[in-house]
Assembly symmetry: C2
Homo-oligomer: 210 residues x 2
Amino acid sequence: MAASAGPEIERLIALLAKLPGLGPRSARRAALQLLKRREQLLLPLAAAMAETAEKVVSCSVCGTPDTRDPCSICSDPNRDNGLICVVEEAGALWAMERSGAFRGKYHVLGGLLSALDGIGPEALRVAELVGRAKAGNETGATTEGGGVREVVLALPATVDGQTTAHYLAERLIGSGVEVTSLARGVPVGGDLDWLDDGTIVQALRARRPA
Amino acid sequence: MAASAGPEIERLIALLAKLPGLGPRSARRAALQLLKRREQLLLPLAAAMAETAEKVVSCSVCGTPDTRDPCSICSDPNRDNGLICVVEEAGALWAMERSGAFRGKYHVLGGLLSALDGIGPEALRVAELVGRAKAGNETGATTEGGGVREVVLALPATVDGQTTAHYLAERLIGSGVEVTSLARGVPVGGDLDWLDDGTIVQALRARRPA
């Protein structure tokens, strides 16, 4: 790369290049921009990252990154406790929230099952999901206003996403909840984070048994 | 955007979106990646930015961002002091360095003249350039082994770039240095079919014996 830029800038460029959407060249441009706008961009971004690292934790209930635990969604009394939407990552959760079509709770898996990458159920928050689904159903208890009625699987329409959806549907048999999936209409290979809100609304309305 | 992400994460996303190459969506993806890889990416990047903000200064001679002042290029005794390459930004300097073809010193303007954006000569490091070019020529002194012989203008082939180049050439008249520009022509590996007309016109005008 550019030996003349000095080790500090080179290190900054190398780290920036690890962000999705930035390659080696655009990372250099980003570093330049940061150097040019030290007060307006570099210092605030450094502070925002440090603050995020310090304050943001994963919600112990649903796995969403937030400064509160339980997160603001899990502790929102106006949301339906009987409905859990399962997403791969927080990005998909944010996309669902932007659509404004879902008023239940969430469960962030933290990834997808992948034989290729060696990611099994124990690496994901599967046990926690099953636990939430069973709570207040198996035992007949009526916590949170009567337990979970339905789990909506909002996973990507990819091989790994559908494998994970099938696995989760299997695991949730006997928990007494209905398991549904977002309707086809999500384009094959499509990632929720990149979808327009209208498509998400339609797919949510037409959800069906997994 | 995503109200549920919390103010800290929203702020991080908003700042990331200001980086060149990242828009609102890719900034969200970048923020997610940072949250997922807290130890490997978020903390090191926050630290690298803080360190850059703290340590990197503009070289008082040439304007290059570096932790040393004068910068490592300006203080390199193996580089030709008689040759100054003028670039718009440090990014162009790094590109020149990667080519390995230039062994002189640099001068970073910090931008280009632009009537549209209201950027005049006083906003750029023009006076410093003229000062460097004149030092050891006008006065007959022989600092740095005999003053500057040649100023190479390595500015973009855009309207603003060429306006700036003409202005600098005017300003350097009487300083006793030769003022040259990078050659215009067909880039290496360039297919004529994909080149713009302007480049072809320039390359044809500057044709030379094969």
